[in-house]
Symmetry: C2
Subunit: 454 residues, 2 copies
């Protein structure tokens, strides 16, 4: 006779990534009298953004573990199990081994998994990998790569670029294949993408951009990647970095509404079509902050923002605590070179029929520019032509690029105009920022103003 356990919790969170973790921690902060349980599949969880760095910078994979301290400190129950079914009528979740957990409120944070496209011939061969997020898969991947030399990475988005750079750093011979004209083209305007691509090449990665993959060939084990151009890249291993798709099967089976892109539909409070069930992170629907269109951006930072909103609105909703659309603020680094983007690019603004002006400025990121370590810093702002509201920005520069990108993100969230930027107060320091006389956001805003009045 099998014995099933029946548990009860006020709030149940499915998923142990950043979205699950933060929705639980925030919920418990706002509703301390409620009991919270987080269920996840794996004993240990990877820091998602840190995954590319296990290939080079971090010597051991367990240096990239997201600790359970926040859960413990908040008094959230942790259960390692796989949920197999959500019963919305009875308000219970069933685990694979037959246990049941009753809930009042449910948060679905089931994340996403790496694409291995059906159409790609040879994707099933040995030594063809994806960038999965589980520690088990990644440990095995690292082991299997140990005796390899030539690695081909397919896909020049953030993950493909960061993984390529790290493998190169770890002394592999790396080729990167990207179908678009340059790497990072979905995130950046061409001039920034091209600059990043040149840096990646200088660092030793062979970049095949503008070239689609035709198939992977080999006898059981991968031997080569064949491009649509007919070119052949000898490969001991292939890593597919061709995007992620939301994990929504649980939600779908439970009859929750799924949008046309395959994400769980949510409102501004992160509620699904069932008011007692929330969805956050990669599995939840996203809407672009500017274009208001459904978006496919998946970022840990956006996920945590959604998670905080869900956690706050669990038992009572507040109109000042809503998620108002994804701004997609992100940054990446190649050595000392960094690239950041917030809001929409010029490419998108143009495609979406937005009447915009751009503001450009380029100078040094320290002052005087003769200081050791000073690097070129380039800022591009995109603003509405009629009103000057800033809707996007891109940066290339050095180590302060990440927070400068966040500054642009806050500017967009506050719907600030180029006029409010040029009169804004800033702080500067020789080693930490550009000079006050040529602070890049202000100079780029000035440039945009000139174009508004043309």
């Amino acid at each position: 006779m099998e014995v099933y356990k029946m548990e009860k919790t006020d709030v149940l969170v499915i998923g142990g990534g950043p979205a699950g973790l933060i929705s639980a921690v925030t919920g418990k902060l706002y509703y301390p009298d409620k009991s919270f349980t987080l269920v996840r599949k794996y004993e240990k969880v990877m820091v998602p953004c840190g995954i590319p760095y296990i290939f080079g910078t971090l010597k051991e994979i367990d240096k990239n573990i997201m600790g359970d301290m926040p859960l413990e400190k908040s008094g959230i129950n942790l259960k390692i199990a796989e949920i197999s079914e959500i019963d919305r009528q009875k308000k219970i979740c069933k685990t694979k081994n037959g246990d049941e957990i009753g809930y009042e409120k449910l948060i679905i944070a089931t994340g996403s998994e790496a694409n291995k496209p059906q159409w790609l011939k040879g994707a099933e061969l040995e030594n063809v990998f994806v960038v999965d997020k589980s520690m088990k898969y990644l440990s095995e991947l690292k082991e299997k790569l140990a005796d390899k030399k030539n690695i081909t990475v397919v896909g020049g988005g953030f993950i493909g670029v960061e993984v390529s750079d790290e493998l190169n750093k770890a002394r592999f011979k790396v080729e990167l294949v990207e179908i678009l004209p340059h790497i990072l083209m979905l995130a950046f305007d061409p001039e920034f993408a091209e600059e990043a691509e040149n840096v990646l090449k200088e660092r030793g990665v062979k970049v095949n951009s503008g070239k689609g993959i035709e198939k992977i060939v080999g006898d059981k084990k991968v031997e080569a990647v064949i491009l649509k151009s007919g070119e052949k890249i000898e490969s001991d291993a292939v890593i597919l970095a061709m995007g992620y798709r939301p994990n929504v099967s649980l939600a779908e089976k439970a009859g929750l509404e799924i949008n046309k892109n395959g994400f769980i539909k949510v409102d501004e409070y992160m509620r699904t079509s069932d008011n007692d069930i929330f969805a956050v992170g990669d599995c939840a629907e996203k809407r672009d902050f500017i274009t208001r269109e459904i978006s496919q951006v998946m970022l840990a930072s956006t996920a945590t923002s959604e998670a905080r909103v869900a956690g706050m609105n669990l038992y009572k909703i507040s109109t000042v605590k809503t998620f108002n659309g994804t701004i997609s603020i992100f940054a990446t680094a190649l050595g000392e070179n960094a690239y950041g983007v917030a809001g929409i690019t010029e490419t998108v603004a143009s495609k979406k029929n937005i009447d915009y002006v751009i503001g450009l400025f380029e100078n040094m990121d320290k002052h005087p520019g003769t200081l050791p370590g000073a690097r070129k810093q380039k800022v591009k702002l995109i603003a509405l032509k009629d009103f000057g509201t800033i809707i996007g920005g891109e940066i290339s520069g050095g180590p302060n690029t990440g927070e400068l990108t966040n500054l642009i993100g806050f500017i967009i969230q506050n719907r600030m105009t180029v006029n409010s930027i040029v009169t804004a107060q800033i702080g500067t320091h020789p080693f930490l920022t550009a000079a006050p006389t040529v602070y890049p956001l202000i100079k780029a805003a000035e440039d945009a103003i000139k174009k508004m009045h043309k």
Copy 2:
């Protein structure tokens, strides 16, 4: 017979520092049909914030020159001369050699000069210096220091601290004297000031904090600094970093209103008591953004902000282009350690009878924290207890501290609340920022919210 020249310009700017430069450049941008002339005393102008770095990091002093390219590119006339009188009736300025320049609008950007207190016995001895801003003085200072060994710096504000650190870097034996309990105490709360002080000590500077200077002694040349405690510091040279006072003699002689602290009185458009005369930068009155009290903060970054406002409002004023009080955003660096502050500190909030809560958070500035170069990052936010509006913030951390401080500055300028911060979207990257799950501004805001409801 002497020949005097009589020139005419639409806009005349007196002073070649950041405030003068930026008011001229901005004015010309907004009023391209007007002629602009900038008059300054010296052929070459130092980057003011870069001055401490001529002692160590920058090998040659002429690596710290603020170029004239912005003036040339904007079509602004440059004249090297010293203005000796402003005749408001005739709307002309007279130079020391007798030339006259007629103006429609005048911008006074005469800056500040280093204090050499009258009460300080021995301040007139040879080898007692101040941190003057002229290239001539600084070149001579550097030359005279060349054969010295023991240098005492008096005053532990930003300039004193940065100069001490740089002299130490240049292999001098440096002692710093500060009357307050810790260095940087006028800028930071004690816990941040103490941390910076410990770093400065570890780097090799002997810090005598909590100790006032009694006098400087020596026979013609300085020999020692005597503290109020009776202690004696053998010194081959002394550098006084005891603050700056505004240069307002021209304005005062012209009958413009001067405030009780000795600054030229200005309104939100940076106009003096004469509507055709503006004042910007260190010589112009400042009012604190939060307390609304007259302030004595002198920063190049604030100066450029005032200068932009003046430039925009020269011929027609605009209520959306005003300077609404000084937020005093600044940062400093000691090697890889950086400290930033924006708005008011807890010390000031408490003294000024503000009902506040503080939010604290400390973690690593990269993620995972095991990444090479990851440093501790500490954030403190000060918010109004009743409404949650953020009025100040302090940071200690690494190279991204400068722009993170600017982010807090923008938060204060936008009068954002802790609630808007906890739902804000951010972007993160392993090498560039803290983790999305523990982004320090959000975690500190969460901490503040907990205290608001107590």
